[in-house]
């Protein structure tokens, strides 16, 4: 008998392991999807999570004295995340917005397969941990049941943008390679129209250009411009792609 991971009994039984961080990444994502629809598990999990954290208590060990200064000085140069936006009382994002072109989850299945298989060439080559985190985050985004997708023109090729929470995954298919020494830079534009860089796109093994954009709270639109490889503080060319963002859910 094959046990599919999304059979209800199979899901419930994973709650202990989940609370103890004893699931692998894919199981964790499956269980988190299950949680969004299972009140019993959600309620039980609140108690289990708190219980699990008590296991840390008998093992308290003061860190080395030098850590305090290192942390405080890193904090001094680290931006905080803004609070999550208030629940919007205005539009229901499922019903005809300015992004009528933003559709509920549709075509990203193939993207999930590609990303999960490691085709995502990450912007964090020097940092294996960050690379793994990015890959996991991309898959989570692409499988978020509340995600919204848009397909648009991108330099003669096809651009796909998938938005979930306050993040977006951008893919360019059949887009021309940037000229030597240049790259595609990602931007989010705030309510004042000011651009904020969200990194450079990178090329995957199968020739697509991809980018994971984080911290889009408050953003009204995203855009892509050709910039020198190291990126520019502000766009220096006309966007090759520009789209208004839908209402963000986070």
């Amino acid at each position: 008998m094959t046990i599919r991971p999304d059979q209800p009994t199979e899901m419930h039984s994973m709650i202990g392991a989940y609370a103890l961080d004893a699931l692998d990444d894919l199981e964790r994502q499956s269980f988190e999807r299950h949680l969004t629809g299972c009140r019993d598990c959600s309620a039980e999990l609140v108690e289990f999570s708190e219980t699990a954290t008590r296991l840390a208590i008998p093992h308290a060990v003061a860190p080395p004295a030098g850590l305090r200064e290192r942390v405080l000085s890193e904090v001094a140069r680290t931006r905080q995340l803004p609070p999550l936006a208030q629940e919007s009382t205005s539009r229901d994002r499922r019903s005809g917005l300015p992004g009528q072109r933003w559709l509920a989850a549709a075509a990203s299945v193939l993207l999930v397969a590609a990303v999960a298989a490691g085709a995502l060439a990450v912007q964090w080559r020097e940092d294996a941990q960050a690379a793994r985190d990015a890959q996991v985050q991309a898959v989570q985004l692409l499988t978020d049941p509340d995600r919204q997708e848009l397909t648009t023109e991108f330099s003669g090729g096809r651009g796909t943008i998938v938005v979930a929470g306050d993040e977006a995954f951008v893919v360019g298919d059949d887009v021309p390679a940037p000229p030597q020494g240049q790259g595609y830079q990602l931007w989010v534009f705030d309510a004042d129209g000011d651009p904020h860089s969200r990194g450079m796109m990178t090329q995957t093994a199968d020739g697509r250009y991809v980018g994971l954009m984080r911290d889009l709270s408050g953003g009204q639109a995203i855009g892509i411009t050709l910039e020198p490889e190291g990126g520019s503080p502000d766009p220096t060319t006309e966007p090759v792609l520009a789209e208004d963002l839908p209402e963000l859910t986070a």
């Binding site: 039984s13 994973m14 709650i15 202990g16 392991a17 609370a19 103890l20 961080d21 004893a22 699931l23 692998d24 199981e27 309620a43 609140v46 108690e47 289990f48 999570s49 708190e50 219980t51 699990a52 954290t53 008590r54 296991l55 840390a56 208590i57 008998p58 093992h59 308290a60 060990v61 003061a62 860190p63 080395p64 004295a65 850590l67 305090r68 290192r70 942390v71 405080l72 890193e74 904090v75 001094a76 680290t78 931006r79 905080q80 995340l81 803004p82 609070p83 999550l84 294996a128 941990q129 793994r132 985190d133």
Partner: protein, 199 residues
């Protein structure tokens, strides 16, 4: 030792009291108050570092992960949802996850085998104040762990302190995965009841 502000009852062992302690420090931190963050550091860094060290083992890497966790607390201070649990729970959940991720990405198998055999060595809490409450609570947790069956305690220990996945635990113990899942869940139920944790 520099001047350190110690505030009343920290950490919170009961649902967050509205008048102060960690929730107050965290909400001030969310507004950019670095002094409040320093208070969080002083209150929470030992338990963060302790759990990370227990899972990661290597002191240098443990320091790195501890630092990462504290920076995440700073960055995400505004995102804490008090309806979803305590400040300490939130921070320790973050710390444990990061420690486990670090261990799994390292994949040093000989290291991991050593960890299985390592004893339940609890190192003393170095700082002087707040020690009584922490020691009392530590004792409470140890007594609660005694209420698990040996098999439950073993499975929970391998999962939580060893950072193993339930599949790895099943392989290590030579028992079916379903058995491990049951032991983990039943173990947590006993712990929860012994500690009186309620939502």
């Amino acid at each position: 030792m520099g001047t350190v502000t110690r505030l009343g009852r920290l950490p919170d062992t009961t649902p967050d009291a509205p008048q102060g302690g960690l929730p107050e420090l965290l909400s001030r931190t969310a507004r950019g108050d670095t002094e409040a963050f320093t208070g969080l550091y002083d209150a929470l860094s030992p338990i963060i570092h302790g759990v990370v060290l227990r899972v990661v083992r290597d002191p240098a890497q443990s320091e790195e992960v501890t630092q990462e966790v504290l920076i995440e607390v700073w960055k995400q201070a505004s995102r804490f949802d008090c309806s979803r649990g305590t400040v300490r729970g939130w921070v320790l959940t973050m710390a444990h996850r990061r420690a486990v991720d670090r261990v799994r990405s390292a994949q040093a198998s000989t290291d991991r085998e050593e960890r299985v055999v390592a004893s339940e060595h609890v190192r003393p809490y170095d700082s002087v104040s707040e020690e009584v409450e922490t020691r009392l609570e530590a004792e409470q947790v140890r007594r609660a762990l005694d209420e698990l069956t040996d098999l439950q305690r073993e499975a929970v220990g391998l999962a939580y302190y060893g950072g193993y996945t339930h599949r790895q635990v099943s392989e290590l113990l030579g028992v079916p995965l379903g058995t491990v899942k049951t032991r983990l869940r039943d173990g947590l139920i006993r712990l929860r009841d012994a500690l009186g944790v309620t939502a």
